[in-house]
């Protein structure tokens, strides 16, 4: 019983949801610090630094393992979430005429599926816009050599141009901002919820975990959201 229990039971689904979710939280931190390099003053130095960093992130074997783990976590988190949602819908085939969930729960906790779907859609668009262009698009065939003699794709110029585009730049920045809002609400419940699912609940630490969760949910998406607006409004035009 024990073996199938760790794969199929309702509790096991929660564990995997928590493990994959908390792993993705770590990914967010790494991704954000990498992105901060886009705030450097426009010039060859910033361009070389960011592109060399992008090359490192896509070629280093250890990072590659981490990125496959990240892709897997995203897909697994989404599928597991979908399976949970289907089961949960089945658990109440006849709904209430009058149901007042706002009396005892917060909005984000009840709408993790909706928020997750928005985030998944964003991830697909985001990957297509940048990672896809670098891996399969035009950038792949137009490599240039940096001051450190590294042959790199110019992801930096594509990124800056995207958010400085006179027609679409601001629209993209706003759309990215909305996606980050979805991530913020998702994290506001998900972070602490992950700990609870893994059994980490103690009156002494609960307040601390919740506060860290809220801080994480505000600061990380805010950090991401600032970047496109900074590129559009503050950085010199490329």
């Amino acid at each position: 019983m024990a073996k199938s229990a760790l794969l199929k039971s309702s509790l096991a689904k929660k564990y995997w949801m928590a493990f994959s979710g908390l792993f993705l939280c770590l990914f967010l931190v790494g991704h954000l610090f990498g992105n901060f390099q886009l705030l450097l003053p426009v010039g060859d130095a910033a361009r070389d630094q960011f592109n060399e960093y992008a090359l490192f992130m896509t070629s280093n074997p250890l990072i590659k393992v981490l990125s496959y783990l990240t892709y897997f976590s995203i897909i697994f988190h989404a599928i597991d979430g979908l399976m949970l949602t289907i089961r949960n819908r089945k658990a109440r085939p006849q709904g209430y005429v009058n149901f007042k969930p706002s009396a005892n729960t917060v909005w984000a906790s009840r709408n993790m599926g909706v928020l997750g779907t928005v985030i998944l859609a964003f991830i697909v668009v985001h990957l297509y816009m940048f990672w896809g262009q670098m891996k399969f698009g035009e950038l792949k065939d137009n490599l240039y050599t940096t001051a450190n003699d590294q042959e790199v794709a110019d992801l930096y110029t594509l990124t800056i141009q995207t958010f400085q585009d006179p027609q679409m730049g601001l629209i993209w920045a706003i759309l990215y901002g909305i996606a980050m809002l979805a991530i913020a609400f998702h994290l506001s419940h998900g972070f602490a919820s992950g700990f609870q699912s893994l059994g980490v609940n103690h009156p002494k630490y609960n307040g601390f975990i919740r506060k860290i969760g809220y801080a994480f949910a505000v600061l990380i998406p805010l950090g991401f959201a600032i970047i496109p607006f900074y590129i559009y409004f503050v950085l010199d035009k490329i």
């Binding site: 019983m1 024990a2 073996k3 229990a5 760790l6 039971s9 309702s10 509790l11 096991a12 689904k13 929660k14 564990y15 949970l84 089961r87 949960n88 089945k90 658990a91 109440r92 085939p93 006849q94 709904g95 209430y96 005429v97 009058n98 149901f99 007042k100 969930p101 009396a103 005892n104 729960t105 917060v106 906790s109 009840r110 993790m112 419940h189 602490a192 919820s193 609870q196 699912s197 893994l198 059994g199 980490v200 609940n201 103690h202 009156p203």
Partner: protein
């Protein structure tokens, strides 16, 4: 007080039910919610109509029989009380009150507002007990040292009356608060520790079999629980289950 009641009426498990509107007059604010329903039923009986069927027993808030989803919340708008301890002073003259049965696939409606909560019994039977010899040579309980904190937490978990408000409040109709309270009350004490692994695996398996939903940690159950059973119990069940599964 004069009230309009919108009550779920359903003849039996097979037929489809619907909301029916009733008016009740001259309700005393000091009546309990169930007494208000008694008044309605007397009116219906006088008129030769079928009275509304609802669960009740002790009317002291300790048996877990009474249920009812009142204006969208199990046991009504008050915290820490069962429906029998909810009083009409909580409502205003002229109010409209919606009264529905607890909704879950694992709680099928028997008639009107009465649901079959036998699924809770089956979860309990799957492992919510300890195997001790009771043939006259039982050891005195006080001879086994128990940490005060654990004893308190165990007794606190044991205050669960199995009413099903946790399931009714949960957007996923999950029974994890109930199951975790029953797991905790035994696993926290030395007498229950021996069978702890087997217990948690069997009770969770039964819970899943009954068709309850999964916990998404919204916390609605803890807030609506008339006995204030804490989410800490669900976390304890998560730990116990993980420990038991990897063994």
């Amino acid at each position: 007080m004069n009230l309009t009641l919108k009550i779920w009426r359903q003849k039996n498990a097979e037929t489809k039910g619907k909301i029916v509107n009733y008016s009740v007059a001259d309700i005393e604010p000091d009546m309990s919610f169930l007494e208000m329903l008694d008044v309605l039923n007397e009116q219906l009986i006088m008129k030769g109509e079928e009275p509304v069927v609802f669960d009740h027993d002790c009317r002291e808030g300790i048996c877990g029989s009474c249920s009812l989803q009142i204006n969208g919340e199990p046991h009504g708008p008050d915290r820490g009380v069962t429906t029998c301890q909810l009083h009409m002073r909580r409502f205003k003259d002229g109010d409209t009150i919606t009264i529905e049965p607890f909704r879950a696939a694992a709680f099928p409606v028997i008639k009107d507002l009465v649901v079959d909560r036998g699924s809770f019994d089956r979860i309990q039977q799957a492992g919510g007990y300890i195997s001790v010899n009771t043939s006259g040579n039982t050891q005195d309980a006080n001879s086994i040292p128990v940490e005060k904190e654990n004893a308190d937490m165990s007794f606190y978990a044991a205050t669960c009356i199995g009413c099903g408000a946790c399931v009714a409040a949960c957007k996923n109709a999950s029974a994890m608060l109930f199951t975790s309270a029953k797991v905790s009350q035994f696993s926290l004490l030395p007498q229950g520790e021996v069978e702890a692994d087997r217990r948690v695996l069997a009770m969770v398996e039964q819970m899943d079999k009954e068709g309850f939903g999964n916990c998404t940690n919204t916390g609605a159950c803890e807030i609506e629980c008339p006995k204030g059973i804490s989410l800490e119990n669900i976390a304890r069940m998560n730990r116990e289950y993980m420990k038991a599964s990897v063994k």
